[in-house]
């Protein structure tokens, strides 16, 4: 009976042998990410920066340049306008008045824009975030990502050995840094939903890594004399089919969301797609080869956690 097999049965690819290439690639990507972050920073959305965001829609194509001129005339501070999805939709952003302690500083801006655009455009969404709230969101955001990473570290340590948890967490940090890097490089809007995506990526990438590690542990018990790099290769190859299958089904769902799910969550799905690709790569090429260097314990005879 015929079935589709993305990965041939019994692959014997020598992933670990190419680890140096993978490490160099990862190092370059990491350096690039950090470099982009240092030189460009992140294009923080109003969730983290405070300010006002208005989504408008029209029946006809919106002339961004003309709209910009018109709104700049309102004297409400720095106004950014960009197309949003289709030519007949646009996003207007007004930066927060840094002196204002509450969102009320933004209210008047919204009002004057509303008055100016009333009738000609449908105002689809208004978001105003005061500086106090945005400051807190940054804080809880950083805290949440750290908490996620630390809880993974502890969980893996509990279920495996500290070497595994270090390898897994290094791979996680790799994924998070690369995700932040791409957002910095492309200057995509970095808002609360991107942070949610990063946390989900942390969970997904960990999921992938755990499956490979689980097999490594099993093989450590089974092949007590096999050299570690061969053993890692066997584990990666054995789980490769599953790794690819799950990534593909997840990517299928994500691509459906990206293309059909609407503009509002496009940034989120983009981050997720990137994260799934990077996370899959890192569990095969980063997390597993790292075990070589972490001095994994070879004698598992007395350890039967499951």
């Amino acid at each position: 009976m015929w079935t589709l097999k993305l990965i041939a049965a019994d692959t014997k690819m020598e992933f670990v042998r190419y680890r140096l290439m993978a490490f160099v690639l990862s190092a370059l990507l990491l350096i690039g990410s950090v470099g982009a972050f240092i030189s460009n920073g992140l294009n923080f959305g109003i969730d983290f920066k405070g300010g006002t965001l208005i989504e408008i829609s029209s029946d006809i194509e919106i002339d961004i340049a003309q709209l910009r001129e018109q709104l700049t005339g309102l004297n409400i501070g720095e106004v950014q306008i960009q197309q949003f999805g289709t030519p007949s939709d646009a996003l207007i952003r007004v930066s927060a008045d840094e002196a204002a302690e509450s969102a009320e500083g933004g209210l008047s801006a919204v009002e004057s824009i509303r008055n100016e655009l009333q009738g000609r455009f449908e105002i689809r969404r208004v978001e105003i975030v005061g500086p106090q709230v945005s400051g807190e969101l940054i804080q809880t955001g950083i805290l949440a990502v750290l908490a996620a990473i630390v809880s993974m570290l502890i969980y893996i340590w509990f279920r495996f050995e500290w070497q595994f948890s270090v390898g897994a967490v290094l791979a996680l940090i790799h994924d998070v840094v690369l995700t932040i890097g791409i957002f910095s490089l492309l200057q995509l809007d970095f808002n609360l939903s991107i942070l949610a995506a990063i946390l989900t990526i942390v969970g997904y990438s960990m999921n992938d890594t755990v499956v490979v590690y689980d097999r490594v542990r099993e093989n450590l018990r089974k092949f007590k004399k096999m050299p570690l790099d061969d053993l890692l290769n066997v584990a990666i190859n054995e789980t490769l089919s599953r790794t690819v299958m799950t990534s593909v089904t997840t990517l299928i769902a994500l691509i459906a969301l990206y293309t059909l799910g609407g503009e509002v969550i496009r940034g989120f799905t983009f981050a997720m797609i990137w994260g799934v690709v990077v996370g899959t790569y890192s569990s095969v090429f980063v997390a597993s080869p790292l075990l070589l260097y972490l001095g994994v314990k070879r004698d598992w005879s007395g350890n039967q956690t499951d």
């Binding site: 009976m1 079935t3 589709l4 993305l6 049965a9 019994d10 509450s102 969102a103 009320e104 209210l107 009002e111 449908e122 105002i123 689809r124 969404r125 208004v126 978001e127 105003i128 975030v129 005061g130 709230v133 955001g141 805290l143 949440a144 908490a147 993974m152 969980y155 279920r159 609360l192 949610a196 946390l199 989900t200 969970g203 997904y204 960990m206 999921n207 992938d208 755990v210 499956v211 689980d214 054995e238 789980t239 089919s241 599953r242 299958m245 799950t246 089904t249 997840t250 299928i252 769902a253 994500l254 459906a256 969301l257 059909l260 799910g261 609407g262 509002v264 969550i265 989120f268 499951d306």
Partner: protein
Amino acid sequence: MLHFSKLKIAGMALVFLAGILFSLPNFLSQQTRQAMPEFLPSSALNLGLDLQGGSHLLLSVDVQEVQNERLDGLVADVRLALRGAGIGYTGLGRVANGVSVNLRDIEQLAEARKVLDGLAQPVAPLVFGGFNEAVDLDITQSDSSGFTLTLTEEAIIARNTRTVQQSIEIIRRRIDELGTTEPTIQRQGDTRILVQVPGLDDPQRLKALLGQTAKMNFHLVDQNASPYDVMGGKRAPAGARLVYTDTQPAVPYLIRRRAMVSGERLVDASIGFDPQTNAPEVNFRFDSVGGKKFGEVTKANIGRPFAIVLDDKIISAPVIQSAILGGAGRITGNFSVQEANDLAILLRAGALPAPMNILEERTVGPGLGADSVAAGRIALIVGFLAVISFMLLSYNVFGLFANVALIINMVLIMAVLSGLQATLTLPGIAGIVLTVGMAVDANVLIFERIREELRANKAPITAIDVGYNRALGTILDANVTTLLAAIILFQLGSGPIRGFAITLAIGIVTSVFTAFTLTRFFISLWVRAKGRPAQLPL
């Protein structure tokens, strides 16, 4: 691994049945749902504001203001108490977070202490029946001859709680007047209030209603000095202060500090129209105490102006023509119909105990909400079909089992969301679509493991058995990590993000559950039907 006891089968059937029952209301019309018998679940999914459109406002209550008022009151209390006891003092006044006073005669320290201790009142315990002997004042001897009085931690917490609760009550009354459906008003953190009003696409009026303290008082105008002289730097007469009108340009008035009648005495307010000019006005009525007081004061001050002060701005300063005895009156300002209406609403609902600031506003128009629902639905259907076809191609009849499990998974997710009355948001829909992709993972792990065992020349039944056993640990470990991430997301998140975390978490649990019960059950049925097949279609 392939044997299922009757009890287990019954349990599975029960879960499945419950899933259908709880998700069913989502496919029924409002009327059918209401007509359903009491014992059946009848609640459909809650759509978040980002899907049905509406306004989300995060307000912070300025509790500092209330504390300041309390401390100002305390200064007066201390003055009265010390005077009453015949104790001489100097330098009575506010310090940063308290009140300080010095005694003229050190001999009276002990006596003063006793008098001041008498000012402290027990703090009402927050928990009913709680054992609590805390008092609201902390009195310390600041130096040899003085005392500092500060509010205790318990007093501040109790007062803040009361302030926020009162504010919520008043916000609720104000919003109810707008006639919107099902607003949510809840306390968040210590001093914040979250207001969510569905179906409101221009929250301007709501914000105007919530942004005002609406403290209204009636003061006599002090005519002993010209307000313009006081503006120019002259001292205001004792007991008077400068207040401006809310008009453009603002006109200054000198008013008596002490209110002739306080706005707390108002019992009703409504919009009315001047019979002559037809201009909108606000009619109000005092309670009996307020009405009597108002009558007395107006009787004694005929021909003099008084000021109606709202949130420290004069909205009207008429001259008293005659004694107003009935306890009712009217405010004629330069109102539009809506302004008069809103003022009446504010006066009816009562004043907020403290000013409020709007920290965050998120409003989604109904158009965008509907578009998001449509887009989410299409993405879900397309993603679902694509994953199902892919699974079918990859695992044949086993893929079919996984797909049936996936469908039941969706039903269960919907059931749990409806049953818990969780809110479905746009990121929540994304979570469901993502779950479609990830939910098959448990089955993929199992099927791949079975394939491996088959390659190791195991008999089909053994391969299935071993495959399930070995995959179990992996699946649990792998899913706990995603679940951890979802829990942290839930902790972090506000509305929409929480919706995502909830669907993700529910999806993980149901997908592991279905993989270990349903698909396994289907496979066992299939194996039996095939009469122990010599080959598996994997």
